[in-house]
């Protein structure tokens, strides 16, 4: 038995009535890459937060290097050699790399002294781990992949022996992810221990030595990666057989529903966010838009849904020019009435009001519809009946109309939004990240539902950063890079490599 860097014995954590971590017992071998996988809400993040000192366990023991410790704060965790790279970087954009790294760990009276000392230390770290980060670069001007390396450097600078990475590849291109993995392997070879939290099975198989699978707050599997297959892991995660591939019939494209040409968007600072975007979308087909997040996909959805005004260009919906459409109400409302429904990318901040009950969220955007009104007031009964139908039809759990939607899991929130937008019977459905933060069971359900809509003759525009999802659902794939379309290809011809290259801007 190899030495354990971290060992947990019988750790429990409750939040109110929710038992988030149940009797967790597992160990991370020193000098390995250890994957922790599980659906959303499986308790991975809670567990890591306990190790990193954000939360205190209700019971159980945590051993670091064989010694029982009480970790009361992240400061204490850092002192014990544990570092965390968050999904959302904790960097100060206008500062240089060096300043960011020293931030919070400045010694001495003046900054100059500690910066000079840090510079020497940093150069050594840079060399040892092949990180290739310029200490004097301004962090805000660096790419996402490099920023992530700055975060890694920060933890190393603070003497971390164990690095915890929370969904590190969510924001990276496949090529950048490969780069990250190269660094992680190097770290491991130099004796560091890496804990990788992810829901991407491919990554787990690629890079980890051991895997711990969590489900509903419990550990349901601890295996050597070499001994398992992708399907094994997926089954462990969900607790039943999952269909990773959709059985899909060939698309039967009908009439042209949407025709975009020469679409440009320039923001108030003069930055071009959309550059000469043009494509067609027909009834009965799904067009997927692939790309690393932040390459114009969000802005495209905003323009098409009427939330944002394009600078120039034409958008024709069922032969009607939308760019010059004059409306009294905001365009988002007008478009919705014309038959454009929108499932927004940022579900929790745009698609719903967390503090509203399920039934209130079930009419967001359709609150002015005669079907939910009775004169000046709402027809509360009709609204609740509608909500109940959504819940039944989309298997929303718990099946409660009067519960704040913020208390539902991501997957169930998404089902409510999907139900609401489908109920309007739109001709065009704009879909942003339909399964972000959604557990595998719900993903399957949502995908089937989207295919069904396609087969009913709806036009679907799907934006997703998950290549698997894009490839599984789309009939055609458009790749965006830097606000422009870098390529378009039929789904049948697309591979992760070909898409990855286009996403990185290589034609």
């Amino acid at each position: 038995m190899a030495e354990l860097a971290i060992e947990l014995i019988g750790v429990n954590k409750h939040f109110g009535e929710v038992h988030a971590n149940k009797n967790i017992t597992f160990g991370v071998r020193k000098g390995t890459v250890h994957g922790i996988i599980g659906e959303n809400g499986a308790g991975k993040s809670t567990l890591m937060s306990i190790i990193y000192g954000y939360y205190q366990a209700d019971s159980g023991t945590i051993k670091i290097n064989g010694k029982a410790e009480r970790i009361r704060s992240s400061h204490a965790a850092i002192g014990l050699g544990i570092g965390m790279v968050h999904q959302h970087f904790m960097l100060v954009d206008p500062f240089t790399v060096l300043e960011n790294i020293v931030l919070g760990a400045e010694g001495g009276v003046t900054l100059e002294g500690s910066l000079a000392a840090a510079r020497t230390h940093l150069q050594k770290l840079n060399q040892d781990y092949g990180l290739q980060v310029d200490p004097d670069a301004i962090v805000g001007e660096l790419g996402v992949g490099t920023q992530q390396r700055v975060e890694i450097l920060k933890t190393l600078y603070r003497g971390a022996d164990v690095l915890i990475l929370d969904e590190p590849t969510a924001v990276l291109t496949p090529q950048e992810a490969d780069d990250l993995f190269r660094i992680l392997r190097l770290l491991r070879d130099q004796g560091k221990t890496v804990i990788l939290i992810t829901h991407k099975l491919r990554e787990v198989l690629d890079i980890t030595d051991d895997v711990t699978v969590m489900r509903a707050g419990e550990i349901v599997g601890q295996v050597r990666t070499a001994d398992v297959t992708k399907e094994d892991l997926a089954d462990l995660m969900v607790g039943r057989k999952v269909n990773m591939h959709l059985d899909k019939a060939a698309a039967v494209p009908g009439k042209k529903v949407l025709s975009v040409s020469g679409l440009n968007l320039v923001d108030s600072r003069g930055v071009a966010l959309l550059k000469d975007i043009g494509f067609d979308l027909h009834a009965g087909e799904i067009v997927g838009i692939a790309g690393v997040s932040g390459n114009g996909q969000s802005e495209l959805l905003e323009v098409l849904s009427g939330m944002r005004e394009a600078t120039s260009g034409s958008v024709q919906f069922k032969g009607m020019e939308l760019a010059t459409l004059k409306t009294r109400e905001p365009k988002a409302a007008a478009y919705r009435k014309l038959g454009i429904a929108h499932i927004p990318e940022d579900r929790s901040r745009e698609g719903m009001v967390k503090d509203f009950m399920t039934f209130e969220n079930a009419i967001l955007g359709y609150h002015d519809d005669p079907s939910v009104r009775r004169g000046f007031l709402f027809n509360r009964k009709a609204i609740i009946e509608r909500c109940r139908r959504f819940i039944d039809e989309f298997d929303v759990r718990p099946a409660l109309t009067h519960r704040r939607i913020g208390l539902f899991s991501g997957g169930n929130q998404q089902k409510v939004i999907l139900a609401r937008e489908i109920h309007a019977n739109p001709d065009l459905l704009l879909i942003g990240q339909p399964t972000r933060g959604v557990d595998i069971g719900a993903i399957e359900f949502i995908h089937k539902r989207l295919m069904q809509l396609r087969d009913e003759g709806k036009a679907l525009l799907l934006v997703s950063v998950e290549l698997d999802e894009i490839m599984a659902l789309s009939d055609r794939i458009i790749v965006m890079n830097g606000g422009a379309i870098s390529g378009e290809l039929p789904a049948a011809e697309a591979t992760a490599t070909s898409l990855g290259l286009l996403m990185g801007g290589h034609k």
């Binding site: 109110g16 905001p330 988002a332 927004p344 940022d346 509203f356 955007g365 709402f378």
Partner: protein
């Protein structure tokens, strides 16, 4: 994160405000003890002054009426995520509208002049809130700052008008002439006298029923109508409002107008219900108390009714107390009100952590 994870709904709705109230009263009691009076006796005197005899109750309800309106004004804006501190100024300007109508038209019959005066209160109060609302919606000027400044502008403007323009001829006090009786909102004791019910002679007037109606209407609009839905969406999640196609700017402006109009209706109670003329500074802090009423009442009509009643009782009981105990001045009562605002508003979550910990232990033991 403000969601108390371990606390039942009834506790956060009822127990917490009550705890905050008791804490405020306790500190007030300490101060009263410090100046050499007996806090328990003072409390008894206050309660007796507010509810102990018919006139006391009448006065309490009269003050409550104004506080309901200004409390609703703050709550309405709050549901759209706006903190309207300007109730005082909006009420003052509404008073100007009422005064102008009455000075011009109080020869007309009551059923014409009173609705006209109410309309003026709504329009003037609403218009005074419209400007900050517009500046917030279109220019991003913070509503707290602008509404506070508009209080000062209103105050200066009204001082000038009352001293130089509206003052009764030949009088030294900055006040208008008395309005003709046509413009007086009927007193409750007058209304009930023909029915054989004898009520004491107090300024409690028909505006009280208007306030109760406003509470019901407020509930219906906020929670049972598309208008309220839209307002709450803007208040809770502006991005989601834009996604839903809600014209956020228009909603902000409209809600501020409604808020100002509600504050304006308090002027009806004061001017047409009680003084029957406009005096300088007639608003007397009623607009500010509305902030406390809304905070303590959790922006819900039932809560607002109860907290308006509390502040009404505090005002009336406090006045009685200061008659009985010369050592306790009006300022002392304002001090107590201030403490209640502090504990219920600023320190709202003072007891939340220990309380939710206590509930957690209870749940565990079950």
């Amino acid at each position: 994160m403000s969601q108390p994870a371990n606390m039942p709904r009834w506790a956060s709705l009822w127990l917490m405000p009550l705890l905050n109230l008791f804490a405020a009263l306790f500190v007030s009691g300490l101060v009263i003890a410090l100046i050499g009076e007996d806090p328990v006796e003072c409390l008894k005197l206050m309660i007796n002054g507010a509810f102990g005899y018919p006139e006391g109750i009448g006065y309490t309800l009269f003050y409550t009426t104004s506080f309901i309106f200004t409390g609703l004004a703050v709550a309405a804006a709050f549901h759209a995520g706006l903190f309207n501190i300007g109730g005082e100024g909006q009420m003052y300007l509404a008073g100007l509208g009422v005064t102008l109508v009455c000075l011009q038209f109080d020869y007309l019959p009551a059923y014409v002049v009173i609705p006209l005066a109410m309309l003026a209160a709504i329009l003037f109060g609403g218009a005074w809130a419209l400007v900050p609302g517009y500046l917030q919606a279109k220019r991003g000027s913070h509503i707290v700052v602008t509404t506070i400044m508009f209080n000062f502008i209103a105050s200066s403007l009204m001082t000038w008008l009352l001293v130089d323009k509206l003052r009764m001829e030949g009088s030294q006090t900055p006040a208008t002439r008395e309005f003709a009786q046509n413009a007086w909102v009927p007193m409750l004791h007058e209304l009930f006298a023909p029915l054989g019910v004898e009520l004491p002679n107090t300024p409690l007037n028909a505006s009280f029923f208007l306030a109760l109606m406003a509470l019901v209407l407020f509930y219906l609009v906020v929670w049972h109508s598309p208008k309220g839905f839209v307002t709450r969406t803007v208040g809770l999640n502006e991005k989601a409002a834009r996604y839903a196609g809600i014209p956020v700017d228009k909603v902000i402006i409209a809600v501020m107008c409604v808020s100002g109009a509600l504050a304006g209706l308090a002027a009806i109670n004061e001017l047409l219900g009680s003084t029957h003329r406009m005096n300088m500074g007639f608003t007397n802090g009623i607009g500010f108390v509305g902030i406390a009423v809304a905070l303590m009442g959790r922006n819900h009509p039932v809560g607002i009714l109860l907290s308006a009643l509390l502040f009404g009782a505090l005002t009336q009981g406090g006045l009685d107390l200061s008659f009985e105990k010369p050592a306790i001045t009006r300022e002392m009562i304002i001090f107590t009100q201030g403490l209640i605002i502090l504990f219920c508003g600023a320190l709202e979550n003072l007891f939340q952590t220990p309380l939710s910990a206590a509930f957690k232990r209870m749940l565990k033991n079950q």
